[in-house]
Amino acid sequence: MDAVQQPPVSGINVIGLTKNDYRGKPSTLCKGCGHDSISQRIISVAYDLAIRPQQIIKMSGIGCSSKTPAYFLNQSHGFNGLHGRMPSAATGALLANHTMAAIGVSGDGDTGSIGLGQFKHMVRRNLPMVYIIENNGVYGLTKGQFSATADEGQRLKYAGVNELPAIDVCLEALVADCGFVARSFAGDPRQVEQLLKAALSHNGTAVLDIISPCVSFNDHEDSTKSYAWGKAHEEIINEFSFIPAREEITVDYEEGETVEVKMHDGARIQLRKLDGKHDPRDRYAALRLLEEAHRSQELITGLIYVDEGRRSLAEREHLSETPLAHLTERELRPSQAALDSLMAELM
């Protein structure tokens, strides 16, 4: 299979695992896809933090992004569920075993379109998991329709002009009382890893919105100019038959800085990295921050809001120390005597 092969590395971490032990199957995503770099960050962080792969569950929905759990942490159980319905499955899994750490990977369509309801209710329950949105503003796997996070007025060859305002998943998380809200850019390894580490240590839902460019479904201005990539073309074939190999887009900028990033389609986005001035404990400041960014068409990156105060779902449920999934007949099946007294009440 012609897929992204990952270079082997030497060295072991404190629990004696090599980085390879944290890898997954070869990726089948497009070359240069932002999602693949995020997988690499997860692998590095898990290796650095010396997490036991057996203590992790990987959850995802449906989409190119949601395929990625197959491409990292081979030694962790994975659950690639249904489109937009991963939060509920994760809720059940963590109720059944609250000692597991969950990493969820979703897409902007998976979370912002079909999955918005489950996403909001998961946040409301404060389900303890790292919830990553690999946000490219399009439906990658179905070939380039707009998702709910696409910017108003944005133009794509396939989908035309987006007439609808974008859903800001960070704002959505915030108003749903999320205790950890952060944003980053797939091409910023340093920041993504920092935020991943912080998210993994958060007890509750940690929402990490990572802008992750889709190399395949955007307007190849250049090529269209030199190359009649017109309507006639699309009509005849039912798929984008040609996906030119692209380079991954990377950025490196400091706190407080703003950078302009050129997407594969020539479009530009503004990233502003938060600095010490922003107090992520002030929900109200976080709201203002996102509202302002919304107006100035900026993307704020960094830790936007954090509140360690909320009880997580597991705590609220008074779950037994032993995971429910490990309870035996002894705890679970009442005695004959118990049945007798229940019967007595009904006579």
Binding site: S76, F79, S88, T91, T99, Q118, S320, E329
Partner: protein, 603 residues
């Protein structure tokens, strides 16, 4: 045909109907009556025909007493308690000749039926005299008819007092207040309403050692004894009370009183799509997980249940069937979800369905479903209905589970060490169609596998290869065959020389028993097979092959089970005739008997 009729009404054999307005508190009175009669040793059943709103619409509570032990619905009303002005006319018209009508004096009713016996009581006045505050008067007013019935029918007052006291958990004031009204009504009746009708009850011994319960409580109890630890649900009539009961039992039986640790978790989800997602996530993780819902919920669970079927994840789904299609009649019973549940999901799917017909089976299937789900690694549906689930039934005391948990093929870290690995979707060891699974958290480098609803091979790897795809579907087909050998076998009652085979399932059972007795009296012998699960088992094949005419009795419109059975036994497809009714009410023995006779005559 003259031969077919309800056993003539008489002592310990008639039906009381209390026609009231919902929200008026009559349920307390009805339950007191049922309990008192039950404790007098008289077989009794209570069915509530209620509207889909909270307050102000007509409700009918049917209390059937039957020395012969018939607890199905009886389609005649012998004793009417008319407390709903808006339906009084029809209610009174529906009373059988020679029957009884109890009503409030305040109505100033013209007693225009000469063939029934009227008894008028000053209901509101007595409520006033009770001393209850204005807000509670309508509530205690219901105790007036309890007293009147007690006096007229001879219901033991001590039993009524006991029932009231149980009802209010022994609390003095409410007991005094309510029983006070009962006694006043008894007194009034004795003084002013000489007995003219012929109905009465007398102590019997038919309920000794038995219990009274509803199917939702029985099912919840069964789930508790089956080891359920995660339940997720979304409120919907008539399934809500199952989860309510589950919560009540869990609070008593599953909380560590010292540490306040809960050995369970019940989550009210934001909707049914989420509820089933939670259940499946928990089942994957290794908990015994269930949901309870009704038709609309099953429709919303379609996609995720197809996923669980295809990824071999165990879970239990209770469908307390109500009348569909669509929102339909939320407070009326039906067996209308059989076809949908059996074939639920896009692509080729056939699920395992359990079909309880009694309180005992609601309890037994309640725990057995989890063993089946774990053994088969698949969703198991328990198809109850509103009549079973929400009405009051007499029952033998429940039998304690006769076997320990069967968790099915689950590999531990030790197993993996020994085996040096595993193939998640390979049944090479026993061709059962079920492969070994590991639970997340299993501490072994080879424990992990990847669950996906897309194409996967025996090693749980993604595949689009035609042969690997087919191999997996064939494995699932083997699993379906294995299910035939594990599900509860039908209950068969064969009569020598019978040419007729009756096939049915679920809550129709009591009416069918009654119908068979009527038919026998009329000289029509029948054998009877009661399905307790799908897929069908060999017993079904034998039975279907044996009888010339097969009558498949169902409480739905299309004859859904018949459609399935016709594909299971094509050679007998043409012998299967539908005996079906779908009017929102439980079937009655008389209707079944008449229908079979007329179909027989058509031949």
């Amino acid at each position: 045909m003259a031969d077919l009729q309800n056993s003539p009404a008489s002592v310990n054999n008639f039906c009381i109907v209390a026609a009231t307005i919902n929200g008026s508190g009559s349920q307390t009175a009805n339950n007191v009556l049922v309990r008192a009669l039950f404790r007098m040793g008289i077989p009794v059943s209570g069915k509530n025909i209620f509207p889909s709103n909270i307050q102000g619409l007509p409700t009918w509570f049917h209390i059937r007493v039957s020395e012969a032990g018939y607890v199905g619905r009886r389609d005649t009303t012998e004793v009417l308690v008319a407390l709903n002005r808006s339906t009084a006319a029809q209610d009174i018209a529906s009373v059988a000749p020679g029957g009884v009508v109890i009503y409030p004096t305040e109505w100033k009713l013209t007693e225009d039926r000469s063939d029934v016996f009227y008894y008028a009581l000053p209901v509101q006045q007595m409520a006033k005299d009770s001393g209850a505050n204005a807000e509670l008067r309508p509530y205690v007013a219901n105790m007036v008819y309890v007293g009147a019935l007690a006096e007229l029918l001879g219901i033991d007052l001590d039993e009524i007092e006991r029932a009231i006291s149980d009802h209010f958990g022994g609390k003095k004031n409410p007991i005094a207040l309510n029983f006070g009204v009962v006694k006043a009504a008894v007194e009034y009746t004795r003084q002013n309403l000489p007995k003219r009708d012929s109905f009465r009850v007398q102590r019997s011994d038919k309920t000794a050692g038995r219990v009274m319960i509803n199917g939702n409580s029985a099912g919840a109890m069964g789930a508790i004894f089956g080891g359920v630890s995660v339940a997720a649900w979304y409120p919907i009539t008539p399934s809500t009370s199952l989860v309510d009961a589950l919560g009540d039992y869990a609070k008593d039986l599953r909380v560590n009183k010292d540490t306040d640790e809960h050995y369970y978790s019940i989550v009210q989800a934001e909707d049914e799509l989420a509820a089933i997602g939670i259940v499946i996530g928990a089942g994957w993780m290794g908990a015994r997980a269930m949901t309870s819902t009704s038709g609309p919920g099953i429709s919303l669970m379609t996609e995720y249940l197809g996923f669980a079927y295809f990824t071999d994840i165990p879970c239990v789904v209770w469908d307390i069937q109500r009348m569909g299609p669509s929102t339909g009649l939320p407070t009326r019973t039906s067996q209308g979800d059989i076809l949908m549940a059996y074939y639920l999901g896009h692509g080729d799917t056939r699920h395992v369905l359990l079909l309880p017909a009694s309180m005992e089976e609601c309890f037994e299937f309640g725990w057995r479903a989890f063993d089946l789900a774990d053994r088969l690694q698949t969703p198991v549906f328990v198809m109850s209905d509103l009549d079973l689930g929400m009405n009051l039934w007499m029952s033998e005391r429940f039998a304690y589970p006769d076997k320990p948990f069967d968790r099915g093929k689950v590999l531990s870290a030790e197993d993996l060490k020994r085996l040096g690995g595993f193939n998640r979707y390979s049944d090479a060891d026993d061709n059962s169609g079920v492969g070994p699974r590991t639970l997340p958290g299993t501490d072994h480098p080879l424990a992990a596998y990847f669950v996906r609803g897309s194409g996967h091979n025996a090693h749980a790897e993604y595949t689009e290869k035609p042969d690997e795809w087919m191999a997996n579907l064939e494995r699932l087909a083997r699993k379906h065959e294995t299910a035939r050998t594990l599900v509860p076998a039908p209950v068969v009652d064969e009569v020598d020389g019978a040419e007729i085979g009756i096939i049915s399932y679920g809550s129709n059972d009591p009416a069918i028993r009654e119908a068979r007795d009527m038919l026998a009296k009329a000289g029509v012998e029948t054998s009877y097979l009661r399905l307790r699960a799908l897929p069908t088992t060999k017993e079904f094949q034998t039975f279907a092959a044996k009888y010339d005419r097969l009558y498949v009795i169902e409480n739905n419109f299309d004859g859904q089970m018949r459609h399935i059975l016709q594909t299971e036994a094509p050679a007998r497809a043409n012998a299967m005739r539908a005996v079906k009714l779908c009017d929102g009410l439980p079937l009655t023995g008389l209707w079944i008997a008449k229908t079979i006779v007329s179909l027989e005559q058509e031949r």
